[in-house]
């Protein structure tokens, strides 16, 4: 009943045997031990599970592992280059855009794609762009500030 899936994860080829119903988020967390991608709901509302599938931010709880077969997946563990934080990670740190940290990986993965799509976003555009990522700690104030700052120093 299990099928083999192969994909590139954070730049390296990975293979796993999974049930067809296995969600991408569980493949990442349980099979590949990439636990930075979190689960916060069962209705695709919270965005804690956000990763990039090829070049798009997706909720990994709504993608089956088999759907990612042959594709490229990037997780929060894969965005800091040679130990240097990604500018978005740095901006979250510098603007206190995280408290408990649980929403943070998904928030950052969404935010990076947001500023790629909208290079100089207004606060309103940032807020709308983050609508699918819930945070219960920060009230979003400093998350918005972080995304704004990161959009100004994009690499």
């Amino acid at each position: 009943m299990k099928s083999a899936v192969t994909m590139t994860v954070n730049g390296a080829p990975r293979t796993a045997e999974v049930e067809p119903r296995t969600l991408l988020v569980h493949l990442l967390r349980e099979h590949l031990n990439l636990t930075g991608t979190h689960v916060g709901c069962d209705t695709s509302n919270c965005g804690a599970c956000t990763v990039w599938l090829d070049d798009e931010a997706v909720k990994a709880c709504t993608v089956l592992a088999v759907q990612a077969h042959g594709h490229e997946v990037t997780t929060i563990e894969g965005i800091a280059a040679n130990g240097d934080l990604h500018p978005m990670q740095r901006a979250f740190h510098e603007h206190h855009g995280l408290q408990c940290g649980y929403c943070t990986p998904g928030m950052i993965m969404t935010a990076i794609k947001l500023v790629e799509a909208v290079p100089a976003p207004s606060d309103e555009e940032i807020r709308r762009g983050l609508e699918g990522n819930l945070c219960r700690c920060t009230g979003y104030e400093n998350i918005v500030a972080a995304v704004r700052a990161a959009s100004e120093v994009r690499v």
Binding site: T43, T75, H93, C100, G101, T104, R128, N133, V144
Partner: protein
């Protein structure tokens, strides 16, 4: 050895957080990230009915599924005690017993009935769905009115009625105050039922070692030490064999200030099957089975003179306990009771709380825990009183603020310090004047928008709590102290071990700042350990905005003790008298000959070598302090907000929000602001969006995040934060709490603004568009 000490990140500095990096890079370690050898997964079979007798549990189909290790019911797992409640306000209250796994009877939808232990979580869930439970439905009690009705079915047969507890306090002159009042303003004010929704649900990994009989429980909890104690009591084992660990915890807000059935069940199941057991709550389970919050109705009446002086207050609160008592259920409405007069010097009061059982999820602490309820009721009442007197909402408040501190309320609480006029003045300075606002209101009206503004002047009690008060006034089982160890290593670095249990509050950063200030050890040389009962002296955890005022003070005192001992060692090293040493920036220097000096790091090394120690001084620099606060602390503030209501749809948009808070001295202003932001948005959620609803059959309607709306970034405004500083006399740091402030303040401020916009006297939360639109249609809207 270290010599130069940069005084860069001590108390008062907006130091960036040292805990961030792991979270930013996906290297946090939350409970679901933990994998142990041979670990099995648990799924829970939950009651489908609000009240029923269990007539049978058919487990064979589940047992037959490949990968299933065990299916366990209330008959299979033995417990020495039921799920604990640590609050008994009168000392006379009967706590209904609640076995962790139901035995014969269930009292709310979602109550655990059986568990499946299986090789992976998918199999465990499938098998749980294959367990068949036979129910004989019993009449259910839903809502406090039904619970109090004559002849209502009883939630607990062992009790005489559904009333679990009544608290009352009445001053002698209250009738006279009402008799001589010019106006009496009455209102019924509701705090709807809420669900906490930390983005990480609950979860636990229980590992009972059959050989050593040791139990290690890793749980997403705010209170690991309480958990250990309760695991020992409920599972009937030696507390010395139990270790509880709070790993990284993804938010709590009171939802994880508890010792839950599932934690005991996982532990007992691990013992039963002889393997580690993991349970991770699904979100829809969290909605059904993690405690809820609020669910309180207030019947308020204020007696006042025509110039706005409040002479007396009658407040009768009815609290929905839900079906059982969780760890602190009775405390919550007790806190409402204690804070019922809010920020006002109301001389005569008649306050009563009636607490009732219903066939719903138990309620317990939710960010603010009892104080938001009290604040909302009194703040709304003050607005309505202002309306009746034709007085401004700010003026009525000002006329009733206490004039002197410490101030003792008619309830008997002593508010430690305050200056409520100061935060209100600041808010008014920051807000548009009356004319400007009136002009903007007209402009908005031309666009089809109704502009309104509102405020709240809040105060709360936090920094729980002197242990004598805990026992004698509140009826709590545990005291209210906190512990900390400060340890200098031979190489000059420091470790702080704290009894607090942060889950987003940044204690690693703030506690390091305290140590840098006290000891001159640089911020980056300090590590903070928390959340593991194996390492730490007993600690009471993080809740009720207590961590800094009690736990931070313990860190300060332990560091002071280290410094005092270091002074003795340094004196020996410098051949001087301890009194002749100055200490600053981590350096001891002989007064008058500043080149005779040694650093705290050198002293730590010497104390480790321990040769030639002064008479009576023991080796090492390692001090532990237990701090029992002499009083609670009372932060306060004034919040104002402006809303635009769409006349055609009733949709509310908050267009500006200003918070002016006073939490005494501030250790890290960045973290304090962050706490205010999060709190304010949580309160906005209550005001505008959130409500947990049961249907008439006792089923939870808001069972997922599709039906239960918590605010997203697009739903909330930019929040401006400001501060005044009135130090607390209660602790040597002069600090108060800030974690719940925003939540307490924002809910009434938002409702005040919407009522102002639509010209309503009051509106029940949440102010969803339909309700607001109705209010507009009823007239009064400008």
């Amino acid at each position: 050895m270290a010599a130069t000490v940069e005084q860069g990140k001590g108390i008062g500095v907006a130091a960036l957080r040292k805990e961030d990096r792991k979270f930013l890079t996906g290297r946090g370690r939350y409970v679901d990230d933990l994998k142990l050898p041979g670990m099995l997964h648990m799924a829970i079979v939950r009651s489908q009915f609000p009240h029923a007798a269990i007539t049978g549990i058919e487990t064979s189909a589940a047992m037959a599924m490949p990968g299933v290790t065990a299916v366990l019911t209330g008959d299979d797992l033995e417990f020495a005690a039921g799920v604990p409640c640590a609050s008994n306000p009168t000392g006379q209250m009967v706590h209904p017993t609640r076995p962790p796994l139901a035995k014969g009877r269930v009292r709310h939808v979602g109550e655990p009935i059986a568990v499946v232990i299986a090789a992976d979580r998918y199999t465990a869930r499938d098998a749980a769905d294959a367990v068949e439970v036979g129910y004989a439905e019993l009449p259910a009690v839903l809502g406090v009115e039904a619970a109090l009705a004559d002849g209502a079915p009883r939630v607990h047969e062992e009790l005489d009625s559904n009333v679990g507890l009544v608290l009352a306090h009445r001053t002698d002159g209250v009738d006279e105050a009402f008799a001589r009042a010019d106006v009496v303003c009455e209102a019924t004010i509701r705090n709807q039922r809420l669900i906490h929704v930390p983005i990480e649900t609950r979860g636990v990994v229980a590992d009972w070692n059959p050989a050593s009989d040791e139990l290690v429980v890793t749980s997403s909890t705010q209170v690991p030490h309480f958990l250990r104690t309760f695991l020992a009591i409920v599972c009937g084992v030696s507390e010395a064999k139990v270790r509880a660990i709070a790993p990284d915890v993804g938010g709590g807000f009171g939802a994880k200030l508890n010792a839950y059935a599932e934690e005991f069940i996982a532990a007992a199941a691990s013992r039963k099957v002889g393997a580690p057991v993991k349970w991770i709550e699904e979100r829809s389970e969290a909605m059904l089975a993690t405690c809820h919050g609020r669910a309180q109705i207030a019947h308020m009446s204020l007696a006042a003179t025509k110039d706005g002086k409040v002479l007396g207050m009658r407040a009768h609160y009815v609290q929905d306990y839900g079906s059982y008592l969780q760890m602190l259920t009775p405390l919550i409405s007790q806190l409402t009771f204690l804070m019922s007069p809010g920020a006002y010097a109301i001389p005569e009061v008649d306050v009563k709380v009636t607490n009732v059982y219903t066939n719903t999820v138990p309620t317990d602490a939710l960010r603010g825990a009892g104080r938001p309820e009290a604040t909302h009721a009194i703040e709304r009442s003050m607005d309505m009183l202002a309306g009746e007197l034709g007085m401004s909402r700010t003026e009525i408040r000002r006329r009733n603020f206490p004039s002197e501190f410490p101030f003792t309320s008619a309830i008997g609480l002593q508010y430690d310090s305050g200056d409520y006029g100061k935060t209100l003045d600041r808010l008014l300075e920051l807000s548009d004047d009356r004319e400007t606002f009136a002009r903007r209101r007209e402009e908005a009206a031309a666009r089809g928008k109704l502009l309104g503004r509102g405020l709240s002047t809040w105060v709360e009690v936090c920094g729980f709590v002197p242990s004598d008060v805990a026992r004698n006034a509140l009826g709590l089982t545990p005291g209210g102290w906190e512990s900390s160890t400060v340890r200098m290593h031979p190489t000059g670095k420091a470790t702080v071990i704290t009894g607090t249990s942060p889950h987003g509050q940044g204690h690693a950063t703030s506690w390091s700042q305290i140590v840098e200030t006290e000891l001159g050890v640089p911020f980056d040389d300090v590590e903070v350990i928390h959340g593991d009962t194996a390492f730490a002296p007993y600690g009471l955890g993080t809740y009720g905005s207590r961590s800094l005022a009690v736990g931070g003070t313990a860190v300060h005192l332990a560091a002071t003790k280290v410094r005092d001992k270091a002074r003795l060692v340094a004196a020996q090293m410098l051949e001087a008298s301890p009194d002749d040493l100055d200490f600053s920036g981590g350096v001891f220097a002989v007064k008058g000959s500043p080149d005779k000096r040694t650093t705290i790091q050198e002293v730590a090394f010497r104390a480790w070598q321990a040769f030639g120690m002064p008479e009576g001084v023991t080796p090492g620099l390692d001090e532990t302090v237990f701090f029992d606060p002499p009083n609670c602390v009372f932060p306060f503030g004034a919040h104002g907000c402006e809303v635009e209501v769409d006349r055609d749809t009733g949709k509310v948009e908050i267009t500006s929000y200003i918070a002016v808070d006073d939490c005494g001295n501030v250790v890290n202003p960045m973290i304090v602001d962050g706490q205010v932001h999060g709190g304010v948005v949580h309160g906005i959620g209550q005001a505008l969006y959130e409500e947990a609803e049961y249907d008439s059959g006792g089923q939870l309607v808001t069972g997922t995040l599709v039906d239960y709306l918590i605010p997203s970034a697009a739903d909330v405004p930019h929040i401006e934060t400001h501060r005044t500083v009135t130090p607390s006399p209660t602790n040597p740091l002069g600090v108060k709490g800030i974690g719940e402030a925003g939540t307490i303040a924002s809910t009434p401020a938002v409702v005040s603004a919407v009522c102002d916009a639509v010209g309503a006297r009051d509106l029940d939360m949440p102010l969803q568009p339909m309700k607001v639109w109705d209010a507009i249609q009823k007239g009064g809207a400008r």
